[in-house]
């Protein structure tokens, strides 16, 4: 109904008869147009994202004689080179890539703006965690209506679960970031330690590393996705979409345990809160050999190579374990989503499936764009089979990350206010310097997130615990 009114305004504006092209006529026309639009806006029609593309009829595939040009916005570098592989084999469906800034650094703002303006590309790179946020503004197409389910078995079931909501599929998994422990064996050796197997052990070694004047690791207060990854590994599920609404369990026991653990690690100065991983300051500290370990994802390997003079010094080990929980967690990870204003959703979906599950697509993405961990468990990518000189010949991908990708928390789901929750949590974490604890922050963020959900009219309740 809302959409109807909006559409009606649109036609009315377009149907307005053109006045003869005199100056005064032009002015009056412009004035009329402006006032018309303003009146429509004031009537309340203009809040973007309030109509549903997934309630409209599906768009049929283009005729076989027609050439389709798809546009795709992504922040992967050199993605056009990979798309060109597809373009060469599919003359009828050509894909053009446009580069946008990464996610919340400006890319999403562009996508949201374009969606609000009723335009935008056919496809876009959307992080796994942001898919529900795009669903909230009616920005992504439910691909189950276009037959994506027949390709489901090509993708990692954990990732597939993270793009599936309420019977629909809202993005094609592209890559993920299974986490592991990057570490400097020489620095651990200094205190007579090997890579720890539990987080408890990690903290104990950390105390000795600290006494040697180094940091065991970092705990970024501003980037809460790292904390989320820890909680995910510990078995937490912060939000869960059930039939009767959302269930929140951010301040559940497993999350609070993680919060307590890092409260202690920060208080004991085992970790640095200032050195955000891969920031210039962190690179400087790492180059000076002041960082012993780094919990990060598979894609961290390429960044680590930017540490000057670090060749051969780093290795990768499986993550230390929590008492209960999973072998690994996920940090980052993207999808290729079909956006609401696409006029060729079926062709767009086919390209996205090829890009992210075919051997040619995955190898191209790894070679040109340096994606994270492949979303297709049967093909981790040809370049990732062997050893790496930077990591002293260790074949860390097959040895560590491939098993890690299979030891994920399968129940974790993202939610429609991920970014806002992360920001709220980060704001609360920043207060750690002023004496509050991470535990307090988590409790506050849970309450705030519930409030945000209710403001948006979404149903939410606290998990029983």
């Amino acid at each position: 109904m809302y959409g109807d009114r909006l559409a009606a305004t649109g036609t009315r504006m377009k149907a307005r008869p053109r006045p003869p092209l005199t100056r005064r006529g032009l002015l009056r026309g412009g004035l009329g147009l402006g006032v018309g639009a303003g009146a429509a806006a004031l009537a309340g029609c203009s809040v973007p994202g309030t109509s549903s593309v997934n309630a409209e009829p599906t768009i049929p595939a283009a005729d076989s004689g027609e050439t389709v040009t798809l546009t795709c916005w992504a922040w992967l570098k050199e993605l056009q080179a990979v798309a060109d592989l597809w373009n060469a084999e599919n003359p009828r469906v050509q894909v053009e890539i446009s580069w946008i800034p990464g996610g919340n650094d400006g890319g999403y703002q562009k996508l949201y703006s374009a969606l609000a303006a009723g335009s935008g590309p056919d496809l876009a790179q959307v992080e796994m965690r942001s898919v529900p946020e795009f669903m909230l503004v009616d920005g992504v197409v439910d691909l189950s209506r276009y037959g994506i389910d027949e390709y489901a078995d090509r993708f990692d079931p954990t990732l597939w679960g993270q793009v599936s909501f309420a019977g629909g599929v809202y993005g094609v998994p592209q890559d993920s970031g299974p986490t592991a422990l990057y570490h400097r064996p020489d620095l651990l050796d200094d205190v007579g330690a090997a890579p720890p197997e539990t987080w408890q052990e990690w903290a104990e070694i950390g105390a000795e590393v600290r006494d040697a004047g180094r940091f065991m690791g970092t705990f970024p207060l501003a980037d809460t996705s790292v904390f989320a990854a820890h909680a995910m590994q510990a078995g937490a599920v912060w939000l869960n979409a059930e039939d009767d609404g959302w269930v929140i369990d951010m301040a559940g026991e497993s999350t609070l345990d993680v919060a307590r653990f890092f409260d202690a690690a920060i208080d004991d100065e085992i970790v640095s809160t200032q050195l955000q991983p891969f920031s210039p300051g962190w690179f400087a500290a790492a180059a000076e050999g002041r960082i012993a370990t780094l919990m990060s994802a598979s894609w961290g390997d390429a960044l680590l190579e930017g540490v000057s003079g670090a060749e051969g010094k780093w290795r990768v080990a499986p993550l230390p374990q929590w008492p209960d929980g999973y072998g690994s967690a996920q940090l980052g990870g993207s999808t290729t989503a079909v956006l609401a204003n696409s006029t060729h959703p079926r062709e767009a979906m086919e390209f996205a499936v090829w890009l992210n599950s075919s051997a040619a697509g995955i190898d191209g993405l790894i070679e040109h764009s340096g994606i994270g961990w492949s979303a297709n468990p049967d093909h981790i990518g040809a370049p990732r089979q062997g050893g790496s000189e930077f990591f002293g010949g260790q074949a860390y991908n097959t040895e560590v990350f491939a098993p890690a990708a299979e030891q994920q928390n399968p129940d974790w789901q993202w939610w429609p206010t991920t970014q806002q929750t992360f920001n709220v949590l980060a704001d609360a974490f920043r207060a750690k310097a002023g004496g509050t604890s991470l535990v307090d922050a988590v409790v506050r963020a849970e309450a705030d997130t519930m409030e945000v959900f209710r403001e948006k009219g979404l149903t939410i309740r606290r998990a029983e615990r």
Binding site: T9, A37, K77, S98, G106, K110, A116, S119
Partner: protein, 311 residues
């Protein structure tokens, strides 16, 4: 208050206190020494302040001449052995098939065209408010003055929604149209016209049968030139410096002004360190012409700014 008008008409000779050394009585050696001491002190202070303003620019010259390795590995205020300035500049200009030059051209287009038209519109409106007595005159003036006080960024979000309904988002128009209006320019033009446009000349022109619009173009515009230069420069700089409006309006990098473009490069340094070279080189290339332009233009910056003082 007519001090404003005085200042406007005051194309009087500069009262530069620095030139009136003749007031010193001859033979007063102590006074001369004291004056010399004061000169050294004052100039010393000015030099220190100048360092503050110039050091960042010096730094960018140094940084733009370094490779990314040297940027992190050598002292920031010293040139590295490997002088890579020309490589970096060539890289800036050729990267992504010359997108940098496109951004520069866009900025020139937005700022140049925008400021030119804005000045003309403000001149016409200011002249009209000054020359004619008509109903609604004070209402219009008051309304527009209110516009000076509304933060530009506060209107950008609703403007985006309005333009998205008009289908103007992500076009040159979306940045150009809002740049065409300068409430502050209208304010200056009106006050300047009040003080300088001679009514009897206007009357004489009318008696000669010259049309009202033509009187404005032939007479009004010419008399108002000093204020127009100020309005033009003011608007030029404010469009050139604008970041929020293009950020909200534009998605396609082909339409970006230089500010937005360089920031997209900067935001990639996180993941792709080679963008450090592009960013510092790009900043240098865009800062140098601006700095020169400011130094050359600053003497035009006088007429008409202070007479706009809100009273």
């Amino acid at each position: 208050m007519s001090a404003a008008a005085d200042a406007v008409q005051g194309d009087r000779p500069d009262v530069d206190a620095g030139t009136d050394a003749g007031t010193a009585s001859p033979g007063a050696g102590a006074a001369t020494r004291r004056r010399r001491g004061r000169t050294i002190l004052v100039t010393g202070v000015l030099v220190v302040v100048a360092l503050y303003f110039l050091v960042p620019v010096y730094w960018v010259v140094v940084a733009a001449s370094k490779t990314t390795d040297d940027l992190f590995g050598t002292h920031g205020f010293l040139f590295a052995e490997n002088f890579a300035l020309f490589d970096n500049v060539a890289q800036v200009i050729t990267h992504d098939s010359g997108i940098f030059l496109r951004w520069l051209a866009n900025s020139v287009l937005y700022a140049g065209v925008g400021a030119l038209i804005a000045t003309y519109l403000a001149a016409a409106a200011g002249y009209a408010l000054s020359t004619y007595v008509f109903r609604g005159r004070n209402l219009v003036f008051g309304l527009v003055l209110g516009g000076v006080l509304v933060p530009g960024t506060a209107t950008a979000l609703p403007l985006f929604l309005l333009f998205s309904q008009l289908g103007l988002v992500n076009t040159y128009w979306s940045v150009l149209i809002p740049s065409l209006v300068s409430p502050f320019g209208l304010f200056l033009c009106r006050i300047y016209a009040d003080a300088t446009v001679d009514r009897s000349l206007v009357e004489a022109a009318r008696l000669d049968g010259v049309g009202e619009i033509r009187i404005f173009h032939v007479l009004g515009l010419r008399i108002m030139v000093p204020a127009l230069v100020t309005v033009f420069l003011f608007q030029l700089v404010s469009i050139w410096n604008n970041y929020f409006l293009p950020l909200v309006m534009l998605t396609e990098d082909q339409l970006f002004p230089i500010t937005l473009g360089l920031n997209t490069w900067r935001s990639q340094t996180d993941r792709l360190p080679e963008f450090y070279e592009l960013t510092t080189g790009g900043v240098l290339l865009s800062v140098i012409p601006l700095a020169i332009a400011m130094i050359v233009l600053q003497r035009f910056w006088r007429g008409g700014l202070t007479e706009g003082a809100v009273k």
